[in-house]
Each structure stands twice: as structure tokens, then as C-alpha cells.
Amino acid sequence: MSWSKVEIAQRAAKEIEPGSIVNLGIGLPTLVADHLPADSGVWLQSENGILGMGPFPYEGDEDPQIINAGKQTVTIVPGGACFDSATSFAMIRGGHVDLSILGTMQVAANGDIANWSIPGGRTMGIGGAMDLAAGSKRILVLTSHQTKKGKAKLVHRCNFPLTARGVVSRIITELGVFDPKGEGFSIVELAEGVSEEEAREKTGAPIV
């Protein structure tokens, strides 16, 4: 039994300090928003210019000029603020975002992350990924443990184009919670029913 996507998001929510400023990447990280404790006082940052991003609008309340960095219609919570992109990336690059939760294609035992381009694949672009990875105080990665074809995403060293070097502090997958430790990954926690052996088999670097 490994964790579902919702369970990964729930586990990730536990990594968030009350009152902190958090940027959620596209995909799996977006789910974390639904699992923040109501009284946590967490502020979601969207790099297109929102601090205090709220849930999707009710049907009929969509405003084409209130979107998140994935260009989805969203809302702004009371106490939220809008600002230009230079201010937004000053916030990110200047270390004022406490935590960024990112998806990835590869993450390495040395903390490197590669989440913007697959060699030979269609170029999707960089967007805010490199700034978030380089500038946030802490980087948490949520990802499936392997690709759909069964290749390890937790690797010794990335061979996909890097997003940033040595920035990832923790990774949560369906198998558990892992920390990059240089030459391998340490196991912080395993999902119920997942054996260390299974984690070891599916990881592209030593479990240390």
C-alpha cells in the first residue's frame, strides 16, 4: 500500500509552518492547498502577483483578471495583496517565500532538481521554476517515485537539464518521505506497507 496523491498532499501539508508563505507548483503540489489546517495562517504566493491566493471561484464568479501562475481562475483571500512581477520575484529571490513545493522530473541525492525540460521532449519553458528553486528558503518536492515507464526519478545525479543545484531539502512520493544526503537518500518515513527494500529498489541512488 503506497500513498495516494491526496495522502502525499496531506503529508506535505504537515511540512508547512503556521504563518508561513508558501508557493505551490503546478500539478501534485497544487493539491496541498486543500489540506492546510484552517487556522494555520498560511499565505499562498502565486508568482504572477498574488500573496494570499484563495480557492477556485464559485461557478459564475470567475474573473479573467484574477488567475494563478498556471493561468487558472482563482480568488484572493481577505488580507491578500496584488503586485507586479518584479516585486513578486523580489519576494521569491530575496528569500521571503518560506517554502516552495515543486513537482519534478528528476531530483538528485545532492539536492539538484531538474523539472523544466526533458531531452528530446517538447520544450515547455522555464516560467518561475528556476527562481522559485534558487530563491525560496526551503524546497519540498512532491513527485511519483518513478516515471510511468518505471524509471527512477530519485537519482544519484540528474541527467536532465537542471533547474537549480543543491536546493532540495525533502521529497515526498507515494512510497514515503526522503531527504537528499549527498551520495544517497535517507528515509524519513515510509508509507504504511512500503518496505525499505521496495524503496531501495525503486530509487536510483543508494538509501543511506
Binding site: 502565486s46 508568482e47 504572477n48 502577483g49 498574488i50 480557492p55 477556485f56 471561484p57 464559485y58 461557478e59 459564475g60 464568479d61 470567475e62 474573473d63 479573467p64 483578471q65 484574477i66 488567475i67 501562475a69 498556471g70 493561468k71 487558472q72 481562475t73 482563482v74 484572493i76 496584488c82 503586485f83 507586479d84 512581477s85 518584479a86 520575484f89 521569491i92 529571490r93 539538484d112 517538447r122 520544450t123 515547455m124 519553458g125 522555464i126 516560467g127 518561475g128 521554476a129 528556476m130 527562481d131 534558487a134 530563491g135 537539464p161 537542471l162 533547474t163 537549480a164 543545484r165
Partner: protein, 236 residues
């Protein structure tokens, strides 16, 4: 002395073949729709386009790509912009993809008289290839240069005849910075108000950074990804 022009055609009259043009908007959000359309129809060509997304869903700046008037693009994200994918694949447009923070900071530098700066973003990646790397206080940074333009085409919610601007929500994005970075910033505004109607503390971008204003009350404002929650979802 008013900066107000009576038509979008008049407002863009100085744009020539080969111009470098910054266009505000995050995808289709906050697009200067009328100015973008007017440039496409004006017959200018060989443009360098500086824009986060260069259109999407066949809309906005996609019109420039379809009209083959863009020779070079600086952007940060391609995503599902099929028009841009097509141009990249056939090699007819030279596309440079930048990290978004570096993209906007390079424009901010241009507007602020800063020719170059160092950033941690992109160190150890292809973005830093061929650029100077320098260590400050034990961390490596890459030197990035100011990114200038001849024109900026932006959208605002409210503007006065001096060019003082109020933006609305996330339609603000790159627009004020692009206005600062361009020699001529042209703004298309939902609402045109009188001098003094915007309180000095409510101005998002002072008129010093704006050269031309045109009033365009109606906009299409396409939503790229409509995401909603149902009321029952919450009531349950």
C-alpha cells in the same frame, strides 16, 4: 499637454519594421488586446517580441506569430501555445527562454539605469551558459544584462491624461516594469479619468514612465483555464 491619443492606430504610429516590443500580460490575462491587434494589422514586420508567453490558444500575440511578423522572441514559458511550438519547430522564429524572475529583473534594470546585475537564478543550468559567474559571500551568481525595448504595449484599468496608472489584480504582472524599460510605453486603458482623479498614493505607475494613452473600454478577456468550485462542494 495630454498623452491621450484618439485611436489605437495613432497610438502605435511610431512602430517600425524591426522594432523591439515588450507586451504585458500573463498569458492572455492583462493583454493590451486592441494594441496587439492594431500592430498585427499595421503591416510592420521583423519584430522582436518580449513577452512572458507570446499568446496562447490562438489568441493575443498568437496573431503576430500567425502573421509572420515576429523574427525573435524573449519569453519564459511556451506551455500549450501551439503557434509558438510550431514556429520553434520550423525554426522561423528565434526563441530565447528565460527564467521569469530574470526576465522581469532584466527589464526592471533597463528601466532603472542598471546595465547588469547578479542573480542566483540559473547558476549551474543552461541559462548560465556563456555568462559570467561570480562568487559573493560563498555563493555563486550569474551576471545578467538589462533588457531594453523600443516600445511597451500594456493594459491598465484606469489612466489619467498624465499617464498615471492603476492596474487591476493579476492583470498588472509585467506591465509596469515593461513601461519603465521601453523608450515609448503605450497604454490601453479600460477607463480614462481626469487629472487629479487618482489620488497620489493610489498611482501604481507614475506618468513619467508612460508616453501614450488610448482609451479602449471593451475587452474580450479570454480565460485560459476556467477552474471553479461548485457551491454544493462547500456546503456539503
Amino acid at each position: 499637454m495630454t498623452k491621450v491619443y484618439q485611436s489605437v492606430e495613432d497610438a502605435i504610429s511610431e512602430i517600425r519594421d524591426g522594432a523591439r516590443i515588450m507586451v504585458g500580460g500573463f498569458g492572455l490575462c492583462g493583454n493590451a488586446e486592441a494594441l496587439i491587434a492594431a500592430v498585427a494589422e499595421s503591416g510592420v514586420k521583423d519584430l522582436t517580441l518580449i513577452s512572458n508567453n507570446a499568446g496562447n490558444l490562438g489568441k493575443g500575440l498568437a496573431a503576430w506569430l500567425r502573421a509572420d511578423i515576429v523574427r525573435k522572441i524573449f519569453c519564459t514559458y511556451v506551455g500549450n501555445n501551439e503557434d509558438l511550438h510550431k514556429k520553434m519547430a520550423d525554426g522561423s522564429v528565434d526563441v530565447t527562454i528565460l527564467p521569469q524572475g530574470t526576465f522581469v529583473e532584466r527589464m526592471r534594470a533597463a528601466g532603472a539605469g542598471i546595465p547588469a546585475f547578479f542573480t542566483p537564478t540559473g547558476v549551474g543550468t543552461v541559462v548560465a551558459d556563456g555568462k559570467e559567474i561570480r562568487e559573493f559571500d560563498g555563493r555563486e551568481y550569474v551576471m545578467e544584462r538589462a533588457l531594453h525595448a523600443d516600445f511597451a504595449l500594456i493594459r491598465a484599468r484606469k489612466v489619467d491624461p498624465a499617464g498615471n496608472i492603476r492596474f487591476y489584480r493579476t492583470a498588472r504582472n509585467f506591465s509596469p516594469i515593461m513601461a519603465m524599460a521601453a523608450k515609448m510605453a503605450i497604454v490601453e486603458t479600460d477607463e480614462l479619468v481626469g487629472l487629479g482623479e487618482i489620488d497620489p498614493d493610489d498611482v501604481h505607475l507614475p506618468g513619467a514612465f508612460i508616453q501614450r494613452v488610448v482609451h479602449v473600454p471593451e475587452h474580450e478577456d479570454t480565460i485560459e483555464y476556467r477552474t471553479v468550485r461548485t457551491r454544493s462542494e462547500v456546503q456539503s
